[in-house]
């Protein structure tokens, strides 16, 4: 065998992670206009429709004005769908165009790839969440009781659902499949998850059924951070969110261990 002393590579490829992260951020910056304007317009529309039309019927929920009440749910709805779509397209697109060959042949571990892609998708979601928050504050009075907790939920949810998006992107074999889970699962679960109402307003058995919807816990925790009250306890919210994060991480490590749908 050869005798030359080949140097060993460093244990972590920071340059590689940074390359992927920057590439993904650049993709968003190319469409900066859309990335910024779309959420602002959408948010404004929600306020006109929900805040204006419905808010005139329901003045307050648990002592909070209806317009303000829906802000956390509105942000959650965008976080969930945008995290998933950003991360899933991020990894699906190279598979689709064939450029994935470079990722697979690079000295980048599976986890580094995840950090790059999911980190970028989560960053975009967090920025998006803050933009929506800023837009909302133009329409309704907002005070955030637990700002640190609010940020923690924002970050945690963005990461978790970007991970889920990454999994979907790896799994998908076509663009239809890419939209399948968000359209069929996430959007309904969010609308039914108390984004625009408190589940206390539901009659039984729907209130109990709702407790099986994980999004209820996300929205509730986030709302607690804003108004110091939620549908379920904040500890439970945090627990469910963390559990979801762990499940996504486990699925991802399993995918990479088996090379599932990434390699032949």
């Amino acid at each position: 065998m050869s005798t030359h002393a080949a140097t060993k590579a460093p244990a972590v490829n920071f340059h590689g992670i940074w390359a992927i992260y920057r590439f993904e951020m650049a993709r968003a910056l190319r469409t900066l206009w859309q990335s910024l304007v779309t959420p602002v317009i959408t948010t404004s529309l929600y306020f006109v429709v929900f805040g204006g039309a419905i808010g005139s019927k329901i003045s307050t929920v648990g002592g909070v004005g209806y317009g303000s009440f829906i802000v956390p749910g509105l942000i959650m709805l965008s976080l969930l769908t945008q995290s998933i779509s950003n991360a899933s397209i991020g990894i699906y697109f190279p598979k689709f165009t064939g450029t994935v060959y470079e990722l697979l042949s690079a000295p980048v571990s599976a986890m580094e790839m995840v950090i790059g892609y999911v980190g970028a998708a989560a960053t975009k979601s967090i920025v998006l969440g803050l933009i929506i928050l800023a837009t909302a504050s133009l329409f309704v009075p907002l005070s955030i009781v637990h700002p640190v907790a609010m940020l923690a939920f924002l970050v945690l949810t963005s990461i978790t659902f970007s991970l889920l998006g990454f999994i979907i992107g790896v799994w998908a074999n076509g663009f239809e499949q890419l939209n399948f889970i968000p359209a069929l699962l996430i959007t309904p679960l969010t609308f039914l998850g108390g984004a625009f109402y408190s589940i206390d307003m539901l009659p039984q058995p729907w209130r109990t059924v709702s407790l099986f919807n994980p999004v209820v816990y996300l929205v509730s925790g986030f709302r607690w951070a804003f108004f110091d009250k939620g549908d379920v306890s904040v500890g439970l919210s945090l627990g469910v969110t963390a559990l979801f994060l762990v499940v996504c991480l486990a699925v991802i490590s399993w995918i990479f261990k088996t090379g599932w749908r990434m390699k032949n």
């Binding site: 065998m1 050869s2 005798t3 030359h4 080949a6 140097t7 060993k8 590579a9 460093p10 244990a11 490829n13 340059h15 590689g16 940074w18 390359a19 992927i20 920057r22 590439f23 650049a26 993709r27 190319r30 165009t97 064939g98 450029t99 060959y101 470079e102 990722l103 697979l104 042949s105 690079a106 000295p107 980048v108 571990s109 090379g259 390699k263 032949n264």
Partner: protein
């Protein structure tokens, strides 16, 4: 031999059940240019993809610079650059951005001087700010080469570098390959064309149906495989090859109407033969030369193998 890459017992059966590669053993020496020659579907891309980490082998091990390509993939892969067969590029990126991206991805910090040199060598410097989708196919292939060279790999894989490429780019490519070799880069390329192997390689491996049929130094192989034939249509048929022409390997065909000259690159002497025909006053109507096609060569090789 100073082995830079060692392949031991590598085979591949795809999930579809297709057996693309029978167990392959192959050692590549540091600094050599190795051409993998074979027809469509022979398993060339499969073998390269396994070495580069894109396809998981069913059996066997690959060792790059002493590092196991699976267990120590970081050390192995950062020494490798790959130019894939397909034109897979990020359409919306600029040339410069995508080449810089590749360098970082392979774990290296920025080096603008090197990137500029690579782009200049490939006549891409003027196009550095162009979006890739605005480039022609040949230009896109150059971009892929630039990406592969961005991190200064010690081993470069070129999977059919000249497929769909015009003569000028083919020449440039050959020039680049020679330049890289002079700088010590080990190069492994695949091709369908025996001339290409002849032009560039030090050693040639012939692969067919997932099996490496033979590996030889180019000179030896060309002697063995590079047989050519020239058909000389005579104005008047003859009954026997004149003794004066014994120095050439000649035979008569078509009931004496055609003279068949068989030769290889080593002992080619067409001008000599034609001059001699002139002095002997043997007239001819037409000349036709043939190279043995890759198919002929495979048939020959497989027959030799079966006979052995």
């Amino acid at each position: 031999m100073d082995t830079i890459l060692s392949i031991v017992g590598v085979s591949k059966t795809y999930a579809s059940g297709h057996r693309a590669l029978e167990p392959v053993d192959l050692d590549i020496a540091r600094g050599e240019i190795f051409a993998l020659l074979g027809p469509n579907g022979a398993g060339k891309t499969t073998l390269i993809s396994i070495i580069c980490g894109i396809v998981t082998p069913s059996t066997g091990t690959v060792t790059v610079l002493g590092h196991d390509a699976q267990k120590d993939f970081r050390s192995a892969r950062r020494a490798i650059g790959l130019v894939p067969q397909e034109l897979s590029v990020d359409m919306f990126e600029t040339v410069l951005a995508t080449v810089k991206f590749s360098r970082r991805l392979f774990g290296k910090g920025p080096n603008d001087a090197h990137i500029e040199q690579v782009l200049r060598d490939l006549s891409l410097w003027d196009k550095r700010d162009a979006k890739i989708r605005e480039l022609s196919g040949g230009m896109k292939r150059r971009v892929l080469i630039a990406k592969a060279l961005s991190h200064e790999p010690e081993i470069l894989f070129l999977d059919e570098p000249t497929a769909g490429v015009d003569v000028a780019l083919r020449r440039d490519m050959w020039k680049l390959v020679h330049k890289l070799r002079a700088a010590g880069t080990t190069i492994i390329l695949t091709t369908h064309y025996i001339e290409e192997a002849e032009e560039m390689a030090d050693r040639v491996g012939v692969i067919d149906k997932g099996r490496i049929i033979l590996v030889e130094r180019k000179a030896a192989l060309m002697k063995k495989l590079g047989k050519r034939r020239m058909l000389i249509a005579l104005q008047a048929p003859m009954t026997a090859v004149p003794a004066d022409l014994a120095a050439w390997n000649l035979a008569l065909e078509d009931e004496g109407a055609t003279l068949l000259y068989t030769f290889d690159s080593e002992n080619e002497d067409i001008p000599g033969l034609l001059a001699k025909l002139g002095t002997l006053g043997i007239g001819y109507r037409d000349l036709e030369t043939h190279k043995s096609s890759l198919e002929d060569i495979f048939v020959d090789l497989v027959e030799q193998k079966d006979a052995a």
